[in-house]
Symmetry: C2
Subunit: 433 residues, 2 copies
């Protein structure tokens, strides 16, 4: 079994794993960067997912600078990439913790040495609760936080902690939510009810802060959406203040945490004004690291528009994750079919965006695609692309595509190649979905 990051390098892969060429036979993942492969030389079987390593490194630097300027910390959502190699890089770049969504994701983070984890859910189900408490019981150095939005949820985790005789409390973050939204207490009264239940279940659980996820806020316009986000953040601050007034927080820093990848600037601004003593602001963006070419590209424009701190930092987030596919068919003058489908790319926040093309043995570098090249449909294993009458694309040409919503593209791949700006393969990351 794997148990360290180095063990990932020792894992043996072959062409049964999507994206691994057949020519080299079976090889260690850690040796992928030593094969001399280049995407543009046709060394990889398409479709393939690649991360431009220099772009990703610059994104990481940008976020570190933004956090330094604002005084917040980050617990990046690991569910985006589910790649322990990237978790470790995020920690090395200053992340305070890694966030996960499920107990399986927690197990992956723990296996690969992550010592502080936020599980951004109220864990339900007897086996999941047992697994969680066993993980806590097995390592005193494991610093762990999870959510609570109901008395039943609190009682369940407290009962298992008691049953297991856990030597320290399970740290809980009280979750606030908006009417019509996802999880979380809709009003201060019910939130206080949960906070009091946590206090009553001491020493098995401890209230360590307040949490919310503003990323699902809806609005008919961008402004309306911002209003909802502001109202939601106000709600979280009101809950935190009420808990402070009743002295329901356990001793120590009070964690205020929210922040997907769209509104972290607003989260930091608002929490800084919450008036909570000893508050520590924790953001949780998962997508800043690879960013994307659509949904979060637009969201980042909003961050820069709103935040002077963001504008003051040189550079900015840029898309690092790309998909490459081949033209498999040109069945009609205005249509091409690419070797890429729902098995390879997310389609929940827009279809992938064809951006460049490359003809092996002809081009020296990828060329931009003219306007009018666009995906209009994806099947499981195919993409339908419309194109202008003068499009040069023909059978066998390579097409590079940007994506929208990294989370639902990462989970389509077991390995993703790291490439330099010449598309030379310098390594690979492994995902654990």
């Amino acid at each position: 079994m794997l148990d360290t990051i180095a063990a990932i390098d020792d894992e043996v892969m072959d062409a049964c794993t999507k994206g691994v060429p057949g020519s080299g036979g079976a090889l260690r993942l850690g040796d992928i960067g030593r094969q001399g492969w280049n995407l543009l030389a046709g060394d990889l079987p398409l479709p393939v997912a690649v991360i431009r390593a220099d772009v990703m490194a610059a994104n990481s630097r940008w976020m570190a600078a933004f956090l330094a300027a604002t005084g917040a910390v980050i617990a990046p959502h690991g569910k985006t990439t589910m790649s322990p190699q990237l978790f470790r890089r995020q920690i090395a770049d200053g992340a305070w913790a890694i966030t996960v969504a499920t107990v399986q994701q927690l197990c992956v983070a723990r296996r690969f040495g992550i010592r502080r984890v936020i599980l951004a859910n109220q864990v339900a189900g007897s086996e999941a609760v047992r697994m969680l408490v066993a993980e806590l019981a097995g390592d005193d150095g494991f610093d762990f936080y999870m959510l609570a939005d109901s008395v039943e949820g609190v009682d369940t985790i407290a009962a298992e902690a008691r049953r297991a005789g856990l030597a320290r409390p399970v740290n809980l973050l009280l979750e606030g939510g908006l009417e019509g939204g996802r999880t979380g207490c809709r009003d201060v009264e019910s939130a206080l009810g949960v906070a009091r239940a946590i206090a009553a279940a001491s020493p098995w659980v401890a209230l360590r802060g307040v949490e919310g996820f503003e990323g699902l806020a809806r609005g008919a316009t961008a402004e309306e959406r911002l209003d909802v986000v502001e109202r939601f953040l106000d709600h979280l601050c009101t809950i935190a203040a009420a808990c402070q007034d009743e002295a329901l927080f356990a001793p120590g820093p009070v964690i205020l945490t929210a922040g997907g990848s769209s509104f972290y600037d607003l989260v930091i601004d608002r929490f800084a004004r919450a008036g909570i003593e000893g508050a520590m602001i924790v953001t949780r963006s998962g997508c800043y690291l690879t960013h994307d070419a659509a949904m979060y590209c637009e969201a980042f424009a909003g961050v820069r528009e709103r935040s002077a701190a963001a504008r003051a930092i040189a550079g900015g987030l840029a898309p690092a994750l790309e998909l490459w596919a081949c033209v498999q068919s040109r069945p009609e003058p205005g249509r091409a079919i690419l070797t890429l489908g729902k098995r390879d790319a997310g389609h929940d926040a827009g279809l992938p965006i064809p951006q460049v093309w490359y003809r092996p043995d002809t081009h020296r570098a990828p060329e931009p695609l003219s306007p009018g090249h666009a995906l209009v449909e994806m099947n499981d294993q195919h993409a339908h692309m419309v194109l202008p009458a003068q499009s040069p694309l023909r059978f066998g040409d390579m097409v590079g595509l940007g994506i929208s919503h990294p989370c639902t593209t990462f989970d389509k791949w077991r390995i993703i190649h790291l490439v330099d700006e010449s598309y030379r393969v310098t390594g690979a990351i492994r995902t654990f979905f």
Copy 2:
């Protein structure tokens, strides 16, 4: 490296793989059925995917009976499950071949001993073409077929076969397509152009038949859709007749193949009347084995309505693949949040359908959910369910869901538990996406 089906049983799994409990520690996949686990006893961490083994076996028998009655054979599309254990079961149950969509999928089928494969695409990209020809060169007993819809596609595979000095031709199936559809020649003239290119590239390639995929046929109404399917099948038969007239088929049986999981009855009917000498009809449904609770459930009603042969067979296809999740939150009277999301279930052909619920320590068997329980949204890791005011569901209750479109749910899981009708875990299958 794995290399036989038995090797899958030897693979060691632990809680880092979604669906595997933590309590047992690491264990061989082949030992999963010996742990005495029961889904309803709370032994599995939710969400989890399970296949009701008896239902799947009955589905396999139904399809075998239908094929026996109609005289066609099946090369089930392996991309649906990507599970070599299920491929082997399909072969044992009489499948003529396994169909795949990509060279990676081909490698998986080959690694686990599948000797006859249809790759239902025209392979593009230099590494993919090299991998394919290397696989053919490495085993004279490998019986392989792939598609061609362009002269460029034919020339590419023929050139690689020549370069590699392949001792036998690459078998090609000429693909017909419909205007506005996916791949495939839109008219008989262009199809004949490809067929002549295949003949001209002898002995490196050989024309073995005609292929199409009718499953994407669109229509404003069900009847219009049937008309498009009929027109498409006519088109394929016309292409086949034209190739026969010009004596373009290589000696031996002529393969006529089409058939997703919606219209295989029409495919068989029409091809039987094609007037092609030595014709062998090959259907390719991938979804019959587990079926589903929505999209293919409806399609199967159509098959039975149209086909006397289907109606004459006792029983019928029934949904074998289920998802189970927990109620994680009841944040509002009319809403529950389940521990299940886009990472766990396809959402491209309708959201999963909550069907039953189970309260540990209270129920003896799953109870039907009353009308009005329905998913209205899924995020990456959550499902939003609306429910009637009198719904009994509360935190920690288990919910069983049917799915729509097996392909996009199978690919969310690395292992899927096999269960008996009491939800006792009797084994597990491994997928290779």
